[in-house]
Amino acid sequence: MDFSYTIWIILVPFFMFLLIGLTGHWYKKAAGLLGTAGLAFVFLASYYTAYKYFFEAGKVDGVYQQIIGYKLLWLSFTDKLTIDLGVMLDPISVMMLVVVSTVSFMVHIYSLGYMKEEAGFYRFYAFLSLFTFAMMGLVVATNIFQMYIFWELVGVSSYLLIGFYYDRPSAVSASKKAFIVTRFADLGFLIGILILSYYTQTFDFQIITSQNGPAIAGAPAQTFMGFSILTWAMLLIFMGGAGKSAMFPLHIWLPDAMEGPTPVSALIHAATMVVAGVYLVARLFPIYSFAAPDALTFIGYLGAFTSLFAAIIAMTQFDIKRVLAFSTLSQIGYMMLALGVSGYGEHNGLGYTASMFHLFTHAMFKALLFLGAGAVIHAVHSNFTYEMGGLRKYLKITHITFLVAVLAIAGIPPFAGFWSKDEILVAAWEHNKLLFWVEYLVAGITAFYMSRLYFLIFWNKTPHYHHTPHEAPLVMTGPLMFLALMAIFAGLIPFSEFVSPDLTPYHTHLHYNIAIPSVLIALLGIGVAAAFYLKETSYPDKITAALKGLYKATYNKFYIDEVYMFVTHKIIFGLISKPIAWFDRQVIDGTMNLFGIGTLWASRKTKGLQSGQLQQYAFAFVAGAVILVLSFVYIWA
């Protein structure tokens, strides 16, 4: 089957970006429809591709193939080391096509209502198309360098969208923070790519991840500070992934990124871009698994720590988007952990499958949560839970869909999150008991803080609203309902039949001895939240008072931002940058100025040469020829 048409899945959003970006100011409102139409194509084409790939063309002799749908040689350094641009289809990239196109399409539709009043309406759609283009290019990358290019493009579009309200200082600084932090992480990514490609002489994913390829079978023997060189490369590459996926301690940009419009948070900072790091590790999984197991273990522990850390912070926040942001961090931690505890082949690959499964279901219910939060914000014009309450009476559809999403993320069967989280817990149980208990605890905390959020918004006491909150229009509730269906049913997909590290399908089944306790702890979390927040009670205040110091530290996100400020301002700027700046100004600039002065001086001195007299020109001409003859024919011949 010919998959070359898949290149249009990438190109259509790109052309939409150019079209809307360059001409959108002529037809403002129609820009949204135009962008949505483009995305409708991407959506249909992605689903068509997924169908064709998984059910017809993808599987040969029971193994899924990595199909190159389209390939273009872009730049060749040596015969082996080339940069291609192309489309690679394999189970995870096709799954990502579905995820990205679904969420992006829903966000496009939703924004028709949500962003209707904004002055930069067409700009918003242009950027959304740019983001979709970049994200699609990232997931279908045939080689790590293409991935890096689109990785940066994704970062740029995220920057543009976080700073969409560029007249708000907080949005501007949030966008800068996001860009700088992720860019800093990408420095590691780039160095990692260079090390990896130096030792393997290729960028191509198929070659570096193959069992008898240069990275695994011919792994270089060099070591550096006790770890193999590949471990270092893979850790550096993971640093890029940790930046994009906001792993501790590079997570600080994500909560601030909530300054962007809510649909953007749903698309970029919940469902797609932030899982790019997970996708990156999954993409290179065979190398991690065989050649750099230490790096993989590290990823697992870091994921577990981040998920616990973020879940604790989420319990204390009052800005609904921030609660969701921290819960995103926590859930991505889950996915990373799942990769960290995964093996290779048959049932050993359960962690890998579970990670991708959770990525899939999380994208659906987290996008739903964000879009639901958007509908709430739209109705009450506030981000803060203490200005909300009792909204179930006013926002009926939003209420139900939000509840579905909360149950899904809490891990209540039969909603989607239950199935994927269960697989992660099983994988953790089989490989690392410590990580299992961490995640088990986080599952409870998650159920607690998500129900807390739900009760605070839709139950609790009803404050006095200036305007009666009213339900959002159908363009906004439609996507909510669609995503709610996904959040209910996506868990029933037998994921291991499609996605596995060695591309060979296998069977999984529910482990009741793990599923039942995990449901119990989720119910416990919900129960505690209900006791505290279903009606207005004094328990939260009492507990806050009892745990004063701890609560304050948690509320302030454990002062990580302040640590960064201290490190950057006091240590880096003060102790390192200042002396360097002095050296730069005095010595480097001085040298350059000397060159500059010298050049200008030479320029003044040669002014006389250009006299305007033709005789002199002729003289120079003949003299030049004669000197050339003398020097090169007679003297140095």
Binding site: L72, L73, W74, L75, G596, T599, L600, A602, S603, R604, T606, K607, L609, Q610, G612, L614, Q616, Y617, A618, A620, F621, V622, A623, G624, A625, L628, V629, S631, F632, V633, Y634, W636, A637
Partner: protein, 473 residues
């Protein structure tokens, strides 16, 4: 000679037809209709450009005097594209009332020189080469003196014709020695009979001197300053882009095909002159305040960069030169196009007139910025790739020090290119050039140039395509 063989000269034939159409239009149009000659000329040339694009067989006619192949066709197409852009840019200028009596001359002369360049590039012997060269040079003097009323323009014309007579003299002297020592003027026969006797080496240096004049390599460049300044903007851009590219193409072909055994000689000459040209060209350009002179001088340094591609004598260098010429045409014509547009509307040509231009004319400023970035070689615009491949070709043959000097010089050039960008975007100005709407012809030309600047660098097929037909020694 069969009809198929005549068709090998298709590029020149269609150009002659285009020229005849312009001539006929000039004769038959009168009164208010006279201005129609402008669209007719541009349209005819555009069609000629398109026809010349179609694939064509390779072949030799006139007993070896004229030969054509795909690479030569690519070269001619590159030139045609450049001239088409200049023609489109020329439309508003020629429509002005003071040009009323000499509209068609501009097109006639340029097409005539282009025909000369076509024959020059396709030449198979030195006679055809020389005829083509002169056909491409003498009418240009008339172009330089196009603004008859202006003293500087007349001066430009007379200086060009006198300098070029001198250079032709030396070139012919060299060619006569070639004939005298080998008994032939055919390229392949000369190459076979070449023995590197002192007289023959003298001949090579004389031949090179003549070509250096066309390429404005220091110290054969002095004419450029006065001619570029005196001539109308579009003629300057034609001289600094198209003429140079054509000369560089045939220079390279002859060095590779006729004098490969003298490589020790000519690479030394090129080595020395590349350094001198790039360095002095930059130093000249740095203090220019008139935009036209500034761009013209910077083109001297750019010509020096072209030599980097020739010096290695490898196929990659040949590709790099053609590729660079294509990019250079787009970048330089975009820059000249903006200068011409501003000069047409306001008459202002100085760098400090551009202060604060971004606030009033953001789109023009952006085009200018992209063009200057491309000229300076900043990625990701095409100019970067053009220079990159030239450097790579030289480095491949081991000229690391030369490449290092060239790289240092690109930094110097960055300084003065950015001066203009700074003027447009940073400098404060109480009275910047007021907003104006440029006409559609200028817009088309500028948009096409900008697309070229962006696309040629990114689409690797172009490089691969040229590379497929290039040859080294």
């Amino acid at each position: 000679m069969s009809f198929e063989q005549v068709l090998l000269m298709r590029n020149e034939l269609v150009l002659v037809i285009a020229m005849l159409i312009v001539l006929a239009a000039e004769i038959f149009l009168s009164g208010n209709n006279r201005k129609l000659v402008i669209p007719i000329a541009v349209g005819a040339f555009a069609i000629a450009t398109i026809i010349a694009w179609f694939p064509q067989p390779e072949g030799v006619i006139f007993g070896g005097m004229y030969q054509t192949d795909t690479l030569r066709q690519i070269m001619k197409n590159v030139l045609n594209i450049g001239v088409l852009l200049i023609f489109i840019q020329s439309m508003p200028w020629l429509r002005k009332p003071e040009q009323n009596f000499q509209m068609s001359e501009f097109y006639l002369i340029i097409i005539a020189t282009l025909i000369g360049m076509g024959f020059m590039i396709s030449s198979g012997d030195f006679l055809m080469f020389y005829l083509g060269l002169e056909t491409a040079t003498i009418p240009v003097a008339a172009l330089a003196a196009y603004d008859k009323g202006k003293r500087k323009s007349a001066e430009a014309g007379i200086k060009l014709i006198l300098s070029s007579a001198l250079s032709s003299g030396i070139l012919l002297y060299g060619l006569s020695m070639i004939y005298g020592t080998t008994g032939s003027i055919y390229f392949h026969e000369v190459a076979n009979a070449w023995g590197n006797t002192p007289l023959q080496m003298l001949a090579v240096v004389f031949f090179m001197s003549g070509m250096f004049f066309k390429l404005s390599i220091v110290p054969f460049h002095f004419w450029t300053a006065d001619v570029y300044e005196g001539a109308p903007v579009l003629v300057t851009s034609y001289l600094s882009v198209i003429s140079k590219a054509a000369a560089a193409f045939i220079f390279m072909i002859i060095l590779f095909k006729v004098f490969p055994t003298s490589i020790e000689l000519w690479k030394n000459v090129l080595y020395a002159l590349t350094i001198i040209t790039i360095t002095l060209g930059n130093i000249f350009a740095i203090r220019q305040k008139n935009m036209k002179r500034f761009l013209a001088f910077s083109s001297i340094a750019q010509a020096g960069f072209i030599l980097l591609g020739i010096i290695g004598g490898n196929a990659m260098g040949m590709t790099a030169v053609v590729y660079f010429a294509l990019i250079y045409i787009f970048s330089n014509l975009a820059a000249f196009g903006v200068v011409a547009a501003i000069s047409n509307v306001t008459g202002k040509e100085y760098m400090n007139d551009y202060d604060g231009l971004y606030r009033t004319n953001p789109k023009l400023s952006l085009v200018m910025m992209l063009a200057l970035f491309s000229l300076a070689g900043i990625p990701p615009v095409a100019g970067f790739f053009g220079k990159f491949f030239l450097f790579m070709a030289a480095a491949k043959s081991g000229y690391y020090i030369l490449v290092l000097i060239a790289v240092i010089n690109t930094i110097v050039s960055l300084y003065y290119y950015l001066l203009v960008v700074k003027a447009m975007f940073v400098n404060k100005n109480e009275h910047p050039i007021a907003w104006f709407k440029s006409d559609w012809a200028t817009r088309i030309a500028l948009i096409a140039s900008v697309l070229g600047i962006i696309a040629v660098g990114l689409i690797s097929h172009i490089w691969e395509y040229i590379n497929a037909f290039s040859f080294g020694i």
